[in-house]
Symmetry: none
Subunit: 188 residues, 4 copies
């Protein structure tokens, strides 16, 4: 019967946090996040129990964002190479389009604020890709290697690729291709 909790405000805080994290690090005051989000200092805690809680929720949200971007228009019936190509392209596109989100994700990922539960939930998002992951695993050199290794390699290589794309945006697409080819060879 009272004013309902506002999804917009929650979103505003999350977005403000993304920006602040990139620009001032995880140790930036909650007050700065609240201010940028346009809410009162204390309202932060109406939407997130603690600062840590915000970090965890934000991390998941960002991961979901990216997963959604990658799943969009996923070519279900294409060859494994083309599917991988799509994932690679969509992933790098996302990172180029939302550089703040990507950098915040990295900051959060290496911090000790993210709980094992949150990390598990983030990994679980990969299940959305269904068969793709399974097929990729059975491909070439990944066959005899733990899944996480495969994931890490892909992640690591695409990180490097994105880094190159960001630093040299004029040749972004070229770097994207090069990166993909390197990755594809790596896992062949």
């Amino acid at each position: 019967m009272a004013r309902p909790r506002s999804d917009e405000k929650r979103a505003a805080i999350l977005e403000a946090a993304t920006t602040i994290i990139v620009e001032r690090g995880l140790s930036a005051p909650t007050a700065s996040i609240a201010k940028l989000a346009g809410v009162a200092n204390g309202s932060f805690f109406t939407y997130f129990e603690t600062k840590s809680d915000l970090f965890n929720q934000l991390y998941l949200e960002l991961k979901k964002d990216m997963a959604a971007a990658i799943m969009k228009d996923f070519p279900v019936n294409a060859t494994l190479r083309d599917q991988t190509r799509h994932v690679w392209q969509a992933g790098t596109n996302f990172a180029m389009a939302s550089p703040h989100k990507r950098r915040a994700m990295v900051q959060l990922a290496v911090s000790d604020e993210i709980t094992p539960q949150t990390r598990a939930a983030a990994e679980a998002l990969a299940r959305g890709f269904g068969q793709f992951v399974t097929r990729l695993r059975e491909h070439g050199s990944l066959r005899n290697v733990p899944i996480t290794f495969a994931g890490s390699i892909m992640n690591a290589l695409s990180e490097a690729t994105i880094e190159a794309m960001v630093k040299d945006p004029d040749n972004a697409q070229k770097h994207c291709e090069t990166g993909f080819e390197a990755f594809w060879r790596a896992i062949s």
Copy 2:
């Protein structure tokens, strides 16, 4: 602010910092570092002007450590593949032998405490490898790509490899090989 007498204390602080960073993050109090190093609270600032200063010096020191480990017994006259092989093996050996150092390096690398100057100095260490880097650049797919991209790819792949080795130490050597083969294919 005269030159402090004891190099041992400086080293003790650096080592303590490495441990503390891994166990409690970059936001751990300087006092905790001093305590672990066995020096007084205030002595920290006799050896390092600020906390940030310590971080930067430590980062460089760690990078130097690793560079030295890699350069040790470098096969000057071997084939490029064997040289690369040596670098790969020495790098992963170092990481396995000094897990604290590696993790601290990662923490520091992603933080915003490390200045561009420090990062530049760290990259400059690669020059110690002289011709090796040059030859690697001219090899295969790396020919048309910025050096940093090559470095990133190597770094990224070896990170992933080390991660796998650490998580599954029984098959460490196998993961090391697999990682190297993947890398070599990637840059071919």
Copy 3:
């Protein structure tokens, strides 16, 4: 700020406050009181202007409760000793039956939340005993002493008595007698 409709809610808040004060002290949040009373956060302030206001009203209410308990069946025509005896017994009975109320009263009494007006109103309740107080004052050693001193002595001794009764409930009635005899001797 019109007269609120529900007396039940007011009573619920007062009762909840009594419990909360005993269990968590005067600094417990108003929200905790509201919650225990089963009303919303903000409704607290429909019934009481401020937290202090609640404390003052509660204090008076508790004093009234106790006064009522003591006046019940007061032996109007008995000897002074028997009347005193009745007051003593009824007072300790009340405290034993409503330990929360007694403890909340103590907490409130020593706090600086209770205004002089409230304290005066509480003292005024004694007037309900009419002649009894007058007669008591003229008795024995109290003759040459300010009334408040007499009241304090009685209060102090009965506090001590109740404390003993609460701590050792098996011998409660015995402690009650002993306390009364001590009191009676004290004022003789």
Copy 4:
């Protein structure tokens, strides 16, 4: 070799706390205590781990003060009545001379900040009176009653007495006598 911790500062903080507690209650900010003590905000925590810690130490200190005042010139060889008389007089004198200390003690005693350990330590101070307590217990009506009851009665009556003395200082000594006589009769 560094600046030693200063007993004066500790004492200054304790004294400031006494004043602040009386004037603004236990919920007064630690900053206000530090300010009145003439030390920096943070120095408070060099001398006391937490606010609660201060409260507990202060409580004990005050109790010790009073115990010392009462033990001073205690007539070891006097009659029980004269010894009691001495205790009564010294106690009320102390309260009259240090009203702040007394009021702070009361505030602390009823608060839930004082731990059972501290309360126990405070009670243990009574042991300093050696035989006196034992003899008092064996006297008159206290014989068949728990010690704590005897203590409470004395405490309660002297509280009431002091209250009267404070409110009417011109007749302080008279109230003191009256109170003592009432007490003596009560325990006879």
